[in-house]
């Protein structure tokens, strides 16, 4: 598998050298990158392969807990310009201390961008995802997947500030996501509970792409970058189960925040982030997130990368 990643990366590296800019969720003049902690607010044709995560967790007594590395993926396909389906997974996780490994469940999602206002770079979307139980490693694996399915309604929002009169504000944008995850099984066979979880996150982005095109020209090295600060938090809200004196509280909010940097190429995006745990239940020290996201609408604009159903665009149509 790693060998193939290298091959794909080599092919992408070639393209990096050839041509300039731009893809992803685009609303008016705003390019929203696919962010690492939360999803971008739009519907698109993309292949995120791989997504990488590294995090060191802590034990309740303060000692170092398991370290995990995971490689995930996601494939998103537009059905109409505003409606898309995706399939993905947290993928494969290698854990040390103690040693364990396994595949995560497969997740599918249907997403609808129900509001878009190009002039105000404003977009809102809603989605429902289903994580399908037992589609990852079996229960006998050292890191088994959840044996139950989870249904999650989601809401997304994105707003760029290009319409503000103060020039220094115009490159900024914010995005947000709120999820409500409902497990289909509330109590496991071993008596443990599967809580209902509220997950919420946001990003503040400063687009050097935007600054270069509309406010002040920048040297080539910088004009494809979007630095950001983002975070994601999860709070169990129902079906919490009894407290375990040897473990973190079942009511604890966990989360990570941190700075991130996105490079928007012609055919792909590379993103990296330092994830800082907000408390001991979230981790013991700074971890990392990274993604290679391939823009299928630019790679294969006439086949795989275009909506299955869309009216032919007229050159005079506005978006």
């Amino acid at each position: 598998m790693i060998r193939y990643f290298h091959r794909a990366l080599a092919a992408t590296a070639l393209l990096l050298a050839t041509s300039p800019l731009y893809a992803h969720t685009i609303v008016g003049n705003r390019v929203f990158p696919a962010t690492l902690t939360i999803d971008d607010p739009g519907v698109n044709d993309e292949l995120a392969l791989p997504t990488f995560s590294y995090l060191q967790s802590a034990n309740p007594d303060g000692s170092l807990g398991p370290v995990s590395y995971s490689l995930g993926w996601e494939y998103a396909k537009t059905i109409t310009p505003d409606f898309g389906l995706s399939i993905g997974s947290d993928g494969y996780t290698w854990q040390r201390n103690p040693k364990a490994e396994g595949w995560s469940n497969i997740e599918t999602e249907a997403k609808f961008a129900f509001f878009q206002d190009p002039a105000h770079e404003f977009i809102m979307s809603a989605a429902v995802s289903a994580e399908i139980g037992n589609t990852g490693s079996s229960q006998s694996a050292s890191l088994p997947s959840d044996p139950f399915s989870t249904i999650t309604p989601k809401f997304f929002i994105g707003r760029g500030f290009g319409d503000v009169s103060a020039d220094w504000v115009r490159p900024f944008a914010v995005t947000g996501e709120v999820d409500y995850s409902i497990p289909t099984v509330t109590i496991n066979s071993d008596g443990s509970y599967n809580p209902t979880v509220l997950t919420y996150g946001a990003s503040l982005q400063y687009s050097l792409l935007y600054e270069n095109s509309f406010v002040h020209q920048l040297p080539d090295v910088f004009n494809r970058l979007i630095p950001a600060f983002e975070g994601i938090f999860s709070t169990p809200v129902a079906n919490l189960g009894p407290a375990d004196p040897d473990d973190f509280s079942t009511r604890d909010t966990t989360g990570v925040v941190g700075p991130s940097l996105y490079y928007i190429g012609q055919y792909f995006e590379i993103g990296v982030m330092a994830q800082i745990p907000i408390n001991r239940a979230s981790g013991s020290h700074v971890g990392a997130l990274a993604v290679l996201d391939i823009f299928l609408d630019d790679v294969a604009p006439t086949s795989l990368g275009k909506p299955l159903f869309s009216a032919p665009l007229s050159p005079l149509a506005h978006y």
Partner: protein, 120 residues
């Protein structure tokens, strides 16, 4: 599972190799530069876009900061996604607003504006 990953990776690599660019066209750079201050009046403006554009559906307008239109020729396409606009007269010192609209070859319409200043 391993096989699925391999197939996806190989497929992507193949597509990447025959891929052609068809995204939205944004302004990559301009002369005089976006947001810059220059010493004297330029003879023409040059706008370079990130994608191939359709000149017939593209245009550029110049105005003073107050909104008074500046006489200029039609936007003429040059090589490498550029538009050239000849100014009818030399510009006086001051700040000018350049408004552009283009249609990229994938038929996406984009538009925007930027300022440049001529130093007194």
């Amino acid at each position: 599972m391993k096989r699925i990953f391999s197939l996806i990776a190989v497929g992507v690599a193949l597509m990447l190799l025959d891929g052609q660019a068809f995204a939205h066209a944004f302004l990559d750079h301009a002369v005089p530069g976006v947001g810059t201050t220059v010493a004297g009046s330029p003879v023409e403006l040059e706008l370079t876009f990130t994608e191939d554009i359709v000149p017939a559906f593209s245009g550029v307008h110049v105005a003073t900061e107050g909104g008074a239109a500046i006489a200029a020729g039609k936007a003429v396409p040059g090589p490498a996604n550029t538009l050239h606009v000849r100014l009818a007269h030399a510009l006086k010192p001051g700040t000018y607003v350049v408004t552009w609209h283009v249609v990229s070859v994938d038929t996406h319409h984009t538009q925007g504006s930027y300022k440049f200043t001529i130093a007194p």
